[in-house]
Amino acid sequence: MAPKHFDNFDQYGIGIGLRVPHLNHILERKPLVDWFEIISENYMVDGGRPLATLDRILEQYKVVQHGVSLYLGSAEPLNREHLRKLKALVRRTKTPWLTDHLCWGSVDGRYTHDLLPMPYTFEAAKVTARKVRQVQDFLEVPIAVENVSSYAEFHVSEMAEWEFLNEVVERADCGILLDVNNIYVSSRNHSFDPRQYVDAVPPERVAQIHLAGHSKFEKYILDTHNHPVAGPVWKLYERALQRCGPVPTLLEWDDRIPSFTEVHTEALKARRYLPSQLKVSA
């Protein structure tokens, strides 16, 4: 069995994504929250309000970093300046693990600022795994990669998405941030059984789980993070926990963001599915 990188964090409980509209509420009222996930790029700056605010959050809360632009699946080499800034932030937050997406988004130094799906090929798996290892070595913190939601599939793919995910994490010896909403969205867009995906993931590598809402359109489903978590997604979450045991869980809400209390209440619904020993702290 592969090494269990993330055993120490089983008791992390339920967190929510730190978002600007909630900052005043959090800093003034100091609500009880197990942990916050920050978007690394929002704090990879040299000074001013973002870092001052982050420092105040760090005084009160546990923080885990989540990135959106490492582009581990891009064929081009890692951006050294990006890594240097990321490492400075890792030292500041003391994040116990760090996550980013199993995707690509830049080519020849040009950035799309999107999470583009990978062609599921062995070549792509090798390239991605090598980059994950480089990041892990440089940052000296465990890395977990997140499955993205997707709206396109490539002709050249040689395997299913979950097989590609497994190929990458085994080669890189890293963790998985399992986004069960993304699995659901992609399953509807590409007509596969989401339970097969969840069942195929190596449970010992699942470091964290993401929950979020999505939007239905006529011909596809979009990962919009602007709704409560849908029923089928909660079912996938329950299935994932049955396989993986207690895993740190995080609710993302990025658009049409309601009050802090509403977001936190939605996140705490995850308690229903967590093993009983975690419900006290959550």
Binding site: E41, M44, V45, D46, G47, G48, R49, P50, L51, A52, S69, S74, A75, E76, N79, H82, W104, S106, V107, D108, G109, R110, Y111, T112, H113, D114, L116, P119, T121, E123, A124, V127, Y151, A152, E153, F154, H155, V156, N189, H190, S191, K219, Y220, L222
Partner: protein
């Protein structure tokens, strides 16, 4: 097909500007039909063609980046109106795609690009350029680093040969229009109104019209932050020149000489002015020691 080849092909396709109607371009930059380009890489399914699947990503790319530019340059958008701003944003992004991992840097080339492409700002060229410089300075003031600040006590008895630095988050702008007031007005309006309302559009138009009708005249501005909030502070020509000279590495004595060259101020006014300016700058935290090769400059 190799990974790099796929990524180059898909990125080129989705970064091709959308049609005027907001759909994916019909032709790729190479002249090939976009539907063929999409089909080279992307599988269709029972609901969507390859092109429709690619279009989801292309629209997402353009909407995200244009929205991001709008968030950073609301004053420019108010001057131009939404349609002209969108045309400008598309042309700018097509020529200057993002080369940074962060969207914060998206507008970093906008001033230079606009100087080369003035047709996108029409008759309000000078006003628009002033606003772009102000709004980029605003971004700098928000999150640029702060070096160790020299307080009032550090400046007591400073030597004329001393070289000081101005904090990186302070931008010094020479402008022709009072875009500071216009930007504050636009922000205030957006804070209290629904972004799409007709009333807001009329109020913005009125505010822009008032400023654009003014006769351009030199004005000097510092864009800075204090207690983590971004502020605009008007400067006299002499104060502006002095700060610029200090920033460029001139000694305090040389900077003062440059600042008052050709000034109409009476010589006997100058000592009191200098005392006041240095006191204010120190209070605002604008000054820091200038790093040397070996160690930071120390005040005697």
């Amino acid at each position: 097909m190799k990974l790099l080849q796929i990524q180059r092909g898909v990125a080129a396709a989705l970064m091709t500007p959308l049609t005027a109607g907001g759909g994916i371009a019909r032709k790729a930059k190479s002249g090939a039909l976009m539907s063929r380009e999409a089909a080279r890489f992307i599988k269709p399914n029972d609901q969507l063609t390859s092109l429709e699947r690619l279009e989801i990503y292309s629209k997402s790319y353009w909407f995200r980046l244009i929205d991001s530019l709008y968030d950073d340059f609301p004053g420019l958008a108010a001057i131009l109106g939404w349609n002209a701003f969108e045309r400008l944003a598309k042309a700018y992004l097509a020529e200057c795609p993002s080369r940074s991992f962060t969207l914060r840097d998206l507008g970093s080339q906008l001033e230079v690009w606009l100087r080369k492409n003035p047709k996108y700002v029409g008759i309000n060229r000078v006003l628009a350029l002033d606003m772009v410089r102000l709004e980029w300075a605003h971004i700098q003031a928000f999150d640029r680093p702060e070096h160790r600040t020299l307080g009032p006590e550090d400046l007591v008895g400073m030597s004329p040969g001393l070289r000081l630095a101005v904090q990186p988050y302070v931008s010094l702008l020479d402008l022709a229009f009072p875009v500071d007031e216009l930007r504050v007005k636009i922000s205030d309006l957006e804070d209290v109104s629904d972004n799409a309302s007709n009333t807001l559009l009329k109020q913005k138009h009125h505010a822009v019209h008032k400023v654009s009708r003014a006769v351009p005249k030199p004005m000097f501005l510092a864009v800075h932050r204090f207690d983590l909030v971004v502020y605009y502070r008007r400067l006299s020509a002499e104060e502006f020149r002095l700060l610029q000279a200090l920033r460029s590495g001139k000694s305090v004595a040389s900077a003062i000489r440059l600042a008052f060259q050709g000034s109409s101020l009476n010589q006997d006014q100058i000592p009191a002015l200098l005392k006041g300016w240095f006191a204010i700058w120190a209070e605002l935290g604008w000054l820091s020691g200038r790093p040397t090769k070996r160690r930071s400059t120390k005040l005697q």
